[in-house]
């Protein structure tokens, strides 16, 4: 069984290193095939491990090497496969394999084909380290690794130039109506990385607190002893760890990078910003559930923040025309759902929603990738339309995924979303329940708004001269398993619940059966009504309210993402840049450099003036003699015994 662990962990690394050998060469198809195959191998090993854990409930624990052994510090490289990590491993490898195969089709005209697969496999490797590690330090290594690979992948087309910022809502990179997702891929990559790093500082502080007070970073040791710490200290630790999770999972106020990360290639968005990296924050909270269980008030705050983000993101998706941004906002919204579940103590539900969301969201992104590839990378949904007849497979898969996202019975999203709403109701957090209920309706509406605009209605793309066609057969073949999982994953709810009950605490409160049924009906009602509204309004008018409301305040507010990116740009970035410039010009150049140069200058000029000693000039020689006498007399005075 340990062998499966090693295979699952290191197969992506082998793939990445292999692809890196060819990173600077032109496209070689076998690079894509081999890396996809290796991820597939990792998938097989992960499924094996999951099956083993599910049937025998045996946790597999290995220690690879001692990493840091210095005095009191002892951090090994260890890996654990328990129910939680096995679930995450299967989700990650499943989505990664499909994304790898899809990328072979999507990136087939790109000249950095090989480099893409190197980064992608490296990302999978980092994510595996993150979920399989058995201590916080290994988790942090994986955390940083995914941050780095995400930087490399978002900024994949780094040679694209910066876009000018403008006030025009149709062109500004801060608006969701423009064809630009961000100022440039390089800018978006840096923004994502830097925002993550700032949040990682919080996580590091949390780790330091843990280590300082408990003396170890191993999960089992920490969770055993967390109860012995003072309440305030545990609150601090929990808050700081959550700050780290906020950065990775793009909770407010660290949410700007996620929408801007759409500058990267679409398979990247599918893998990273739907299924894996952004869920790392949720994974952290789930893994540290014993810490959060001690401080339920922090959990409640997490849930409130999650609900806020859910409705915040859903509102922004209502008016956006940038297709990938709509899907990115829906990811953000669903992450909010996951944090509500985790915050309220229903950890297994959060993990369950994580898994189902990974499947339908990634296939939604992959479908969007197909559409973009077919229309020459067009990203404005209003410039598409009527694509269903040209791309039937993609259309159907995307409709299935959107249904799952909206939470319609019997697809996967229905089960996980309803469980979350149920747990909110059970904890008597009625405001949270209400917020999530409204968001469910909004989610249904905007997902189908996207579907209607892209696949039905007038064929607006004709005036741009696009000739859309269906994607290659293997691309569709990669999307099909994910679509099937999007349909069926919810049916395994009881198996999953039973398996995870061995590792995670079950929620404390329950509602009785009749209330559950009523909640299900109410939620389904709003979801179905959202879908119907989207479909029927489009069929009648061919559009929604966008034209009439274009100049209204609310529309502009939503389209500019509540002006939050502009706020960050002007109020945080600009002063920081000014401080940096000042520090460089005044402090560094004038002060520090001057000091260093001054020290060197002392020696130099001292030597220069000392040459007059040897110039052969008698007058100067006599002066030096005088100086020498003076020095000797001073020495005699201070050290001699003259009274």
């Amino acid at each position: 069984m340990e062998n499966y662990l090693y295979i699952a962990l290191f197969a992506p690394l082998v793939g990445s290193l292999f692809a890196a050998l060819f990173a600077n060469s032109p496209k070689k198809l076998f690079v894509g095939i081999i890396t996809s195959a290796l991820i597939g191998v990792s998938l097989v090993a992960s499924v094996n491990l999951l099956y083993h854990v599910m049937t025998t409930q045996e946790i597999i624990h290995v220690k690879l090497i001692d990493w840091i052994v210095l005095g009191n510090v002892n951090i090994p490289f260890g890996f654990v496969v328990d129910q939680v990590s096995a679930t995450m491993m299967v989700v990650v490898t499943m989505v990664s394999t499909m994304v790898h195969i899809h990328s072979m089709g999507y990136m087939d005209h790109d000249k950095s084909f090989n480099r893409f697969f190197a980064w992608l496999s490296a990302f999978v490797f980092s994510m595996m380290i993150l979920v399989m590690s058995d201590n916080f330090a290994g988790l942090f290594i994986g955390w940083e690794g995914v941050g780095l690979c995400s930087w490399g992948l978002i900024g994949f087309w780094y040679h694209k130039k910066d876009v000018e910022k403008s006030d025009d809502i149709e062109k500004s990179p801060f608006s969701t109506l423009s064809p630009f997702s961000s100022i440039s891929p390089a800018y978006a990559a840096n923004e994502a990385f830097i925002m993550n790093r700032i949040a990682d500082l919080g996580m590091l502080i949390g780790l330091f607190f843990i280590y300082w007070n408990i003396g170890s970073l191993q999960y089992d040791v920490v969770f055993e002893q967390i109860g012995t710490l003072s309440h305030g200290l545990v609150v601090l630790i929990a808050v700081f760890l959550f700050i780290g999770a906020m950065g990775k999972s793009a909770q407010f106020p660290f949410n700007v990078w996620l929408a801007n990360a759409m500058e990267g290639p679409t398979p990247v968005s599918a893998l990273i910003h739907a299924a894996t990296m952004v869920t790392a924050g949720v994974y952290l909270v789930i893994r540290s559930n014993e810490i959060f269980a001690v401080v339920p008030e922090v959990g409640y705050f997490i849930a409130c923040l999650g609900a806020f983000v859910a409705i915040f993101a859903a509102s922004m998706a209502l008016v956006a025309t940038n297709m990938k941004k709509i899907i990115a906002y829906s990811t953000l919204s669903q992450l909010g759902y996951m944090f509500v579940a985790a915050g309220l103590g229903a950890y297994w539900i959060a993990l369950f929603h994580l898994a189902t969301h990974a499947f339908f969201k990634s296939v939604l992104f992959l479908g969007a990738g197909n559409v973009m590839h077919a229309t020459n990378d067009e990203i404005n949904i209003k410039n598409m339309g009527g694509l269903k007849q040209y791309m039937p497979w993609t259309a159907n898969i995307m409709i299935i995924a959107s249904l799952a996202l909206a939470g319609i019975f019997p697809l996967a999203g229905f089960y996980s979303k309803d469980l979350i709403l149920e747990s909110a109701f059970a904890e008597h957090a009625y405001i949270l329940w209400g917020t999530l209920w409204i968001t469910a309706g909004l989610t249904a509406f905007y997902s189908f708004r996207l579907v209607m605009y892209v696949f039905y209605g007038k064929e607006n793309f004709k005036k741009f001269g696009y000739h859309p066609h269906e994607a290659q057969w293997y691309v569709i073949a990669a999307m099909v398993p994910l679509a099937i999982l999007a349909i069926t994953a919810g049916w395994g709810q009881h198996t999953i619940q039973e398996m995870l009950s061995h590792a995670l605490p079950m929620p404390a409160h329950h509602v009785d059966h009749s209330t559950v049924t009523m909640l299900i009906l109410v939620t389904s009602a709003i979801a179905i009504s959202g879908v119907l509204f989207a479909v029927m309004k489009f069929n009648k008018k061919g559009r929604y309210y966008g034209e009439e409301l274009k100049n209204s305040f609310v529309y502009k507010l939503l389209a500019n993402q509540y002006y939050f990116p502009l706020f960050i740009d002007k109020c945080i970035n600009a002063p920081y840049l000014a401080i940096s410039k000042f520090s460089w010009k005044e402090l560094d150049l004038k002060f520090i450099d001057a000091t260093v140069d001054g020290i060197a200058n002392i020696f130099y000029s001292g030597g220069q003036s000392g040459t007059s000693m040897q110039s052969g000039n008698l007058s100067k020689g006599l002066k030096w003699m005088g100086i020498g006498i003076f020095v000797l007399l001073v020495l005699a005075l201070t050290f001699g015994n003259l009274k």
Binding site: S619, K623, G626, I629, F630, L633, L637, L642, K643
Partner: protein, 192 residues
């Protein structure tokens, strides 16, 4: 009382004279003030009861050495003021001032060595000259003779350095050759 007045008077005069020597631009003034200073120093020697030394100071220093300097001045342009370019005069001033300060501080301390062994004691019964004579020709005889040799060498050196036309030795020639030398030079003068 008399001693105190004399000391301070001569001290002031000496310092003034030597100050003029080092500061003035006119070389003749420098020369004269140096000579005056030497005389005043001999006054100190007399105050200290070193009569022989005082006399020697006047004869040798003021008489011989200053006369030598005066003869030497003839060779140089002594009418005009000498122009000197001093680099960084402030530094030298400050430096010498500091050194003077330090040494004065050192000497203000009570003199140690109160029980130093006296090598050649002064005998108050004899006069100073007789006393010195007794020590000079017994204990310091060899340095005395060596000093005499050194003075001889210096004299010869001075002559050689400053003299001219010394290839021909006049005393070794006979009388006619000396006359020939004379007329040759006179004929050479007439031809010019």
């Amino acid at each position: 009382m008399f001693e105190v007045i004399a000391f301070y008077l001569f001290a002031f005069l000496t310092i003034a004279m030597f100050g003029i020597t080092v500061k003035t631009k006119n070389p003749l003034y420098a020369l004269s003030s140096l000579a005056a200073g030497m005389i005043f120093i001999s006054a100190f020697f007399f105050l200290l009861g070193a009569d022989f030394l005082g006399a020697v100071q006047i004869i040798v220093y003021t008489g011989a050495v200053m006369a030598l300097y005066a003869f030497g001045m003839m060779f140089f342009d002594s009418i005009n003021d000498i122009k000197e370019s001093a680099s960084n005069p402030k530094l030298t001033f400050v430096l010498s001032g500091l050194i003077a300060l330090i040494v004065v501080m050192i000497f203000m301390a009570p003199v140690i060595g109160a029980n130093a062994e006296v090598v050649s004691p002064i005998n108050p019964a004899y006069g100073n000259t007789q006393d010195i004579g007794m020590v000079l020709f017994t204990k310091y005889l060899i340095p005395f003779e060596l000093a005499a040799v050194m003075l001889l060498v210096a004299m010869i050196g001075g002559i050689i350095l400053a003299g001219k036309k010394m290839d021909v030795s006049i005393t070794a020639l006979s009388d006619q050759e000396v006359d020939k030398l004379h007329t040759d030079t006179e004929i050479k003068k007439d031809i010019k």
